[in-house]
Symmetry: C2
Subunit: 315 residues, 2 copies
């Protein structure tokens, strides 16, 4: 299990390419929620999401042989962009498998960073299994979404929060595969166990939450519109970290997430991707417990499509 | 007329509260325009716009007596927020006059930063004249939109561009009152006269462009939807700087600005205010001349309202 010292080690690699992201307090948002609320702007990262921190740390730790053979992964979203970005930064080849019919804008973004994007199979799992096999065949490195170096890289966002706001009381992070919330929990609990770390997932995709709360692997339904938290299966390593460290893990209805996304746009004038709406909705759901406290919500990314944005504003 | 050394002096004050903003290259946007295009993200600033740099420099230079009496200004937009932010940072009182019927969200944002907002008169000019009188009466400092300390403060954005991208060929900046383009021109032309500095205004509000190109004060029509460049009268001091330094000053039809705004949202996943669309539209209009060059467009701010965003995405 990664520790705080791994995160400090990751920081050197992360800041070779990135700068700390802003932590802003919007009075309108604090008023609307009744909380002392701060927003961590991971959407300001180069690929528009926190994951880029992880890819850079992973790429920095490869052996010469691994560098030669390149990185292989599967993703239609921010993870793929993170790996593509890191590969370009380190002059490696990245090969990303996506299911047929993947979002053309995201495919173009990965290709724009020099990644080879291969279409394979009807769904994500098929693409993932296929690319893992291809990586083995070509002696390349297959990168899963919760590999330890990724967790340590993204954990640097929590160092930034605590160093800038040392009296933070609670940090709320959306949970997909779990690298973001685990990185945050490792840092926060190591530096100050009194900081509450709260995960949030969609009630329409509760697999990680159900597995965490029951202590065993549970497969829940998966019907959410929120791509970043649409997890079908629990992940062993992030479940273990969450069970050790997480104070709470709440579920939010997608309709409430949509309300929160509109509120975020209105008050921050930033574009949130779906998952970025969950921490705000969770903060409001936990309002009675959090009132008067300094609460940070993780604005994990901004990669919403034009259609998503349109549907959010019109309906 | 401010010089490069004034800008270096301003930098100390600006960075006491702010961090440099990112300069990102989006491959999709470069492909869409056929240019080697970089985006300077002033929308990532705390008040969502470049102007905050100017307010902080102005507040830092006040005498003890001026600090006591506070700042007075008129604005319904980013200028007012900048002054409110700077006043809060320095523990001063800010009084901002707005016309009756001013946008409630912007009024709330200024009040949220502790400014006193006073409604006066049917339009901006009435509010401005009234608050200038009130400032005099109370021996306070009236802050106009193009005061030299504001120009020197916002000019730090150009230092950041050139230090990060030393081989930049052209920088395109929207022109409202002119502080942004003048600050950029002073820095760029002092450091490297070969850097082209290009201003851009709406063809539906061409007063500054007509005054610049004719060399005398011209009052053009004013029917643009783009609040940030809706200038009714030319400004003496920014006209003088623009005449000395500006390479080109183009006009863009509002319909083209709207197309550019959509393109910016799609490729950068950032929310632009109207004025942020003009530099991209100008880059496309000047494409034949700029092809193969490193071009920076100033994403000056993100303070679009929900209604503006909705109308942009739906129509």
């Amino acid at each position: 299990m990664p520790t705080l010292r791994d995160v400090y080690a990751a920081r050197r690699h992360v800041y070779r390419y990135l700068k700390p992201t802003p932590l802003y307090r919007y009075s309108g948002l604090s008023e609307a929620t009744g909380l002392d609320l701060y927003v961590k702007h991971e959407n300001h990262q180069p690929v528009g999401a926190f994951k880029v921190r992880g890819g850079l740390n992973l790429a920095a730790g490869l052996s010469e042989q691994q560098r030669q053979a390149g990185l292989f992964t599967a993703s239609t979203g921010n993870h793929g962009q993170s790996i593509a970005y890191a590969a370009r930064a380190y002059g490696l080849k990245a090969t990303v498998a996506v299911p047929e019919g993947a979002n053309p804008a995201k495919v173009a973004a990965m290709r724009g960073m020099g990644a080879e994007v291969l279409f394979h199979g009807p769904d994500f799992d098929t693409a993932r299994q296929w690319i893992a096999g291809l990586a083995q065949e070509r002696k390349g490195t297959f990168v899963g979404p919760t590999d330890d170096p990724l967790i340590c890289g993204v954990a640097t966002l929590a160092l930034e929060i605590i160093e800038e706001l040392p009296d933070v009381d609670a940090i709320i992070v959306p949970v997909g595969a779990g690298s973001g919330v685990c990185g945050t929990a490792i840092v926060a609990k190591s530096l100050n166990p009194k900081i509450e770390v709260i995960g949030v997932q969609s009630a329409q995709a509760p697999t990680q939450q159900l597995s965490w709360s029951s202590g065993r692997n549970v497969l829940g339904p998966m019907t959410t519109f929120v791509e970043g938290v649409a997890t079908r299966e629990p992940f062993e390593n992030t479940q273990a970290i969450m069970r050790k460290y997480l104070d709470d893990f709440v579920l939010i209805e997608d309709t409430d997430t949509r309300d929160s996304l509109r509120l975020l746009i209105e008050h921050t004038r930033n574009l949130p991707e779906g998952a970025a709406g969950l921490p705000l909705a969770a903060a409001m759901a936990l309002r009675d417990r959090l009132v008067g406290k300094k609460v940070v919500i993780d604005f994990c990314g901004g990669n919403a499509s034009m259609d998503e944005l349109r549907s959010l504003l019109v309906n």
